[in-house]
């Protein structure tokens, strides 16, 4: 719903009529405001901005975990070694593969669940609880549950497969299947939050839209396609962007489930950074890798944002 030209002109006039604050009053006002923000600003500068700059400096030296190596200035040497390292590229590929595999499901499945639950069904609260509850669990609990489910031989999934006559699958130790297992665990764990966001969004769509469409003869499916999904555009943008940012930084569930294995086929780039920095003591090199990841996430997010915003504006 866009405002009429007249309404906009009236609002502008009203805004101009409010008296602006006098000089000293305004300055005092701003100072006090700044004072309230200062504690957070100090913490932010100390623990976020300064380390970001320090880390960049670290990546230019052969800095080691003991704090030594500060005399070995490498310039872009770490970055050169990084780009020549096949392990880095495969770790990056695994992260991207994980993102590409999990994001569509996490968005579409969440929407499907929200659409299913947003009807008049009994015990709606039970379904909301069931779908959101996994998200509340910490990653170690989730991994523990799924490790038992995935256990080769007598785990729940494999014994079900055996019971119906299918061959068992080595969910976590077969290199072709390991990444899929990780994606399944992630979907089970995190679909809840997207589901809730979609549910909230669905409830904001006015019912009379659907009624009007029904009167015009639209079936349920075309109602979903033509009304629901376009009106959920903003939320979908938000969910997709947040999901991609989070997926590119995946680490804990992969590390706990497969330790990046078998044979490093599931190792994400953050695990690569962790191993080179902390297990191999080379924090300078690991810093270089983390800055490359940072730039990548920035580029991907910025690209996504502009693309989706453009789509949004065209659609609205």
């Amino acid at each position: 719903m866009s405002l009429s030209q007249q309404q906009v002109a009236q609002a502008r006039e009203q805004a101009q009529r409010v008296p602006r604050m006098k000089g000293t009053l305004r300055w005092r006002n701003e100072l006090v405001g700044f004072g309230f923000v200062l504690p957070f600003l100090i913490a932010y500068a100390l623990f976020l901005l300064w380390p970001v700059l320090l880390g960049l400096r670290m990546s230019l030296y052969n800095w080691n975990l003991a704090g030594g190596g500060t005399s070995a200035f490498l310039g872009l040497g770490n970055y050169q070694e990084l780009f020549a390292d096949a392990n880095f590229w495969s770790a990056l590929w695994h992260t991207i593969l994980f993102t590409v595999l999990s994001t569509p499901f996490l968005v579409i499945l969440a929407l499907a669940l929200a659409l299913l639950i947003n009807r008049t069904i009994p015990a709606k609260w039970l379904f909301r609880l069931a779908f959101f509850a996994p998200f509340v669990l910490p990653v170690t609990v989730v991994v523990l549950i799924w490790q038992w489910l995935f256990t080769p031989g007598f785990g729940l999934i494999n014994s079900t497969l055996t019971a119906i006559g299918l061959p068992t699958v080595n969910w976590l130790t077969d290199p072709h299947v390991a990444m899929i297992s990780v994606v399944v665990v992630t979907i089970w764990w995190t679909v809840g939050v997207n589901f809730l966001l979609y549910l909230a969004g669905l409830q904001q769509i006015p019912q009379d839209m659907y009624e009007a469409a029904a009167i015009d003869g639209a079936g349920a499916w075309s109602q979903i396609l033509r009304i629901t999904i376009p009106l959920l555009g903003r939320i979908t943008t938000l969910i997709v962007i947040l999901q991609v940012i989070a997926s590119l930084q995946v680490f804990s569930q992969i590390y706990l489930l497969t330790t990046g294995g078998p044979d490093f086929v599931t190792r994400p780039v953050i695990q690569y950074i962790y191993e080179t920095g902390f297990s191999s003591y080379r924090v300078g090199f690991a810093s270089a890798a983390s800055y490359v990841l940072f730039v990548l996430i920035l580029v991907v997010t910025a690209g996504q944002f502009t693309l989706l915003q453009r789509q949004q504006r065209r659609g609205a």
């Binding site: 008296p19 006090v32 052969n62 003991a66 030594g68 256990t151 031989g153 007598f154 330790t259 297990s279």
Partner: protein, 447 residues
């Protein structure tokens, strides 16, 4: 000006005065908090007990025993307050230990595998032991086997005080092996030597269990033992060259892969927890693992198992193993009172290592290892002789228990035993990866 402006200004002034009120309240609250916290800060000399922090990486069966020993210590030393922390085995433990030592406020004492000690000592994370102080606490070099004491040395000083040696051993299910006819007249396992005898025995077990004969934990550990039995070495002593013997390595790997792929006597997975569960639920007859799970299996009701040294397959008794040891991380603010309490703690732990031996390990402290109580401890004392046949990881900054070297070896050899790589290809990959680690500029030399 009209009423509207006056109203605006008044409300503005009200807003400021409310803000002023909040400001003042915040300042008073902050000041009060600071004053209170200053008053409550305890000075180190005011407490009557000496606090010491102790980090270890013992979970599972090990963890139970270590907690028992810690409780023994706390009961007998009420003047020392022990803060013990257990962290996950492997990288999660060693990275935290390194970071804390790098930060200057590490625990007073920690556990380290003796193979990880040289890298940490070179990085400057550790302090050498004062042997006089150790003697005053009742521990002297002649209380240890010379080869074990030697492993704790770095550049002529003692950096790691050995607690135990833990070899890779054979567990077997007595009932299943009896049905398979593998037990001798004395009820003990008949000696199995050589690859064919082993595979035959496992086939007989497989017939009894209808599952598999054996599960193996850790492809690297098995490879290390077999390759050691063939007399092969992996790195040159100065850790600069790869001296892997391809023929011997291929022989060891082929045998490992054969157990799963050709003879089909071994559980086709490298999953640690699954293998333990299979053995404990009596679905397999043999388990090759470190001796530390003995407590786990003893807790299973109606489960009769025994332990013997790893078999002689390729002409030697070598088996993979390592030693746990105490290390002193470097403190930025060393406290002599805490240091003395730490030595008391370590000395007590060594003397109490009979409890630790019950957890499966071979005690490094000779008075306990040669005691009657230990000799009577079955099945733990069955493999006490394996301590001298232990093959540890090749010495290098990237090697040792829980290191990247072991992770990559497990990854490659795991792929070989599961049939995803041929032994020849596996060795090629292993060589390539180890060579890359050798070519990486050593962070330890950059200090």
């Amino acid at each position: 000006m009209d009423c509207e402006d006056i109203l605006c200004r008044t409300s503005l002034e009200q807003r400021i005065s409310r803000r002023k009120f909040l400001c003042n309240t915040a300042l008073i609250a902050a000041g009060g908090l600071a004053a209170a916290s200053c008053a409550a800060y305890p000075t180190s000399g005011a407490t009557s007990t000496v606090p010491i922090t102790y980090w270890n990486l013992f979970g599972g069966g090990d963890g139970v025993r270590m907690i028992q020993m810690q409780n023994d210590f706390v009961r007998s030393h009420p003047d020392i307050k022990l803060n013990a922390v257990t962290l996950a085995w492997g990288a999660p433990y060693y990275t935290k230990l390194a970071m804390s030592a790098s930060g200057g406020r590490p625990p007073d004492v920690g556990i380290s595998h003796i193979t990880r000690m040289p890298a940490y000592a070179e990085l400057g994370f550790l302090e050498p032991f004062d042997l006089d102080m150790l003697a005053k606490a009742g521990i002297t070099p002649d209380n240890f086997l010379p080869e074990v004491w030697q492993r704790g040395q770095y550049k002529g000083k003692l950096y790691a005080l050995p607690l135990d040696t833990h070899p890779f051993v054979t567990y077997y299910n007595i009932d299943i092996c009896k049905k398979a006819g593998l037990l001798g007249p004395d009820g003990d396992l008949k000696l199995i030597q050589g690859p064919t005898a082993l595979i035959d025995a496992l086939k007989q077990v497989k017939q009894v269990t209808r599952n598999w004969g054996l599960a193996n934990i850790g492809p690297w550990r098995l490879f290390s033992g077999l390759y050691g039995q063939l007399g092969g070495k992996i790195l040159s002593p100065d850790a600069k060259e790869l001296v892997l013997d391809n023929t011997k390595a291929e022989q060891a790997l082929s045998f490992m892969a054969d157990l799963i792929l050709k003879s089909k006597v071994a559980f086709p997975s490298t999953d640690y927890a699954a293998a333990i569960a299979l053995f404990a639920s009596q679905k397999i007859g043999f388990l090759w693992n470190g001796e530390w799970e003995v407590t786990t299996f003893q807790a299973v009701p109606n489960f009769h198992f025994n332990m013997v040294p790893f078999p002689n397959i390729f002409g030697g008794n070598q088996t993979e193993g390592d030693s746990h040891s105490f290390i002193l991380p470097r403190q930025t603010y060393p406290d002599p009172v805490r240091r003395a309490a730490t030595f008391t703690f370590m000395s007590f732990m060594l003397k109490d290592s009979f409890t630790w031996a019950q957890g499966g390990h071979i005690p490094a402290y000779v008075p306990v290892a040669t005691s009657d109580a230990y000799k009577k401890l079955k099945p733990q004392s069955n493999y006490a002789g394996a301590a001298k046949d232990v093959v540890v990881d090749p010495p290098a900054w990237f090697s040792g228990s829980g290191s990247d070297f072991e992770t990559l070896a497990d990854a490659v050899f795991g792929a070989v035993v599961l049939g995803q790589l041929t032994p020849a290809k596996g060795i090629q990959q292993f060589r390539a990866r180890v060579q890359r680690m050798l070519d990486t500029p050593s962070p330890t030399s950059a200090t």
